[in-house]
Amino acid sequence: MSTRSVPVYLRQKRTPLRLTLTILGWALICLVALFVVFPFVWMILTSFKTEKDVFALPAQLWPAHWSFAAYSEIWQELPFARLFLNSVIFAGGVTVISVVFDSLAAYALARLDFPGKNIAFYLVIATLMVPYQITLIPLFQELFDFHWLDSYQGLIVPRATSAFGIFLLRQFFVSIPRDLDQAARIDGASEFRIYAQIMMPLAKPALATLAVFQFMNNWNDFLWPLVVTSSTDMRTLPAGLTLFGGQYVVDYAVLMAGATISLLPLALAFFFAQRYFVQGIATTGIK
């Protein structure tokens, strides 16, 4: 995302002191960067260790014998395929549904005139300020009354719209020139057609940003699936791995293999489409 290079006026005279400071600064950055990546490196390398290596004293970073056993055992030791599938259904479902609903709501707030529009918009902004942890208790009661606890609809439906998504897309829709949809309206296009065939294609970058943001947050979410699900068959990856890690699994290699696999989809997506990850967060700052 950086595009600017260092301008001329910033190129200061190279005094020895300044040079030392620059070198020290970068050395510190490298050192801290090592600290930042170390847990990931440790996690991946441990997943290839044999049990003997895991418990070796003193602890070794590099496996003495490379072993893929953990990656085959994980499917038996944990209901790992089920956890993975649940994460895909939960995070994927929330992402698709909320992108559709958020864009519809955002279109209405950006383009249509209807009574109570301003109130609706302020309500959306107000919900932005309320963290979901606070609504957890009443929401749990509601799902309990619906008999929706421990089910996919219980996990997904409360997340079907997001104030952040509506806000983000509304801001984007407002920035699209009105002439485009006015022209379509004169040509007799329905509002839904304008939304589907004019606004949505133009909003692709914003939609991608929102989709990545939603997928990441739900894939990684811990507290919500922990509260809503109770049977092992309904757990998602973070909740499932954590509970298994605490209870049955003593085989760290298997646990680390699970952590590695669960990181893989987002890591790959991050590698290829970093800017969508960054944009989702960056836009929260520039409002």
């Binding site: 600064g25 990546v37 990931f40 440790w42 942890q133 700052g285």
Partner: protein, 256 residues
Amino acid sequence: MSLHNWSYLQSTQPFIGFQNYVDLASDPRFWNALGNTVIFSAVTVPLQIVIGMLLALKFSRSGFFRRFFQSIYFFPVISAFATMAIVWKFLLSPDIGPFAAWERALGIPTVNILQSTALALPAVIVVGLWKNIGFTMVIIIAALQEVPESLNEAAALDGAGTWGRFRNVTLPAIRQPLLFATILAVIASLQVFDQVYVMTGGGPLFHTETLVTYMYELGFQQYRSGYAAAVAWVLFILIMLVSVVQLRIFRYRDVD
């Protein structure tokens, strides 16, 4: 709900007025959790903003290495905190963890950090910073790139040094996003849950118990929902108060 003696285990939910809040006021575990949450927040937020800002200033310009390091510092943001907290617990393990191995190699006595009443909370704070600094950094980088280059240039021509440009040009220009990053960091830190639940479970002896872990235990392990809802309201009011105060402070700066 917070005004009822509400529980899923009972068929009736009697109305008890403000009794839950009265009980809360004399509940030592609540005050302990509130205290831990405030300490966590008060230490985390300034460090997160200052370090995030320093990194952002260093990485906001182009260049392969800057982008490379920016990606590295951002990477923990995309990982699942609960899962990575398992890894951290492993790293800090006193018998098979690598940190303990280094301590032994250096001849330092090993401590069980997560079981230590003095070190568990700092450990949870460091891991929280590890996870979230990239988030703050990215917001500030985006803000820095909106600052017109000409402003900096003009200030440099007028003889402003690095600090002067930062204090008088950059800082005012990114005030709004900075405020936002701070509010987000405060809100997130007041709701700390994942790493505490996984790494220490609130222990040792409640030394890392926070408002949300206490609320979780009350609501979903003891099924005292009314009481847990009262804790949630306290958290909500706390978040609102801090956000309003921050908005005020930044507004006043605007006037002078």
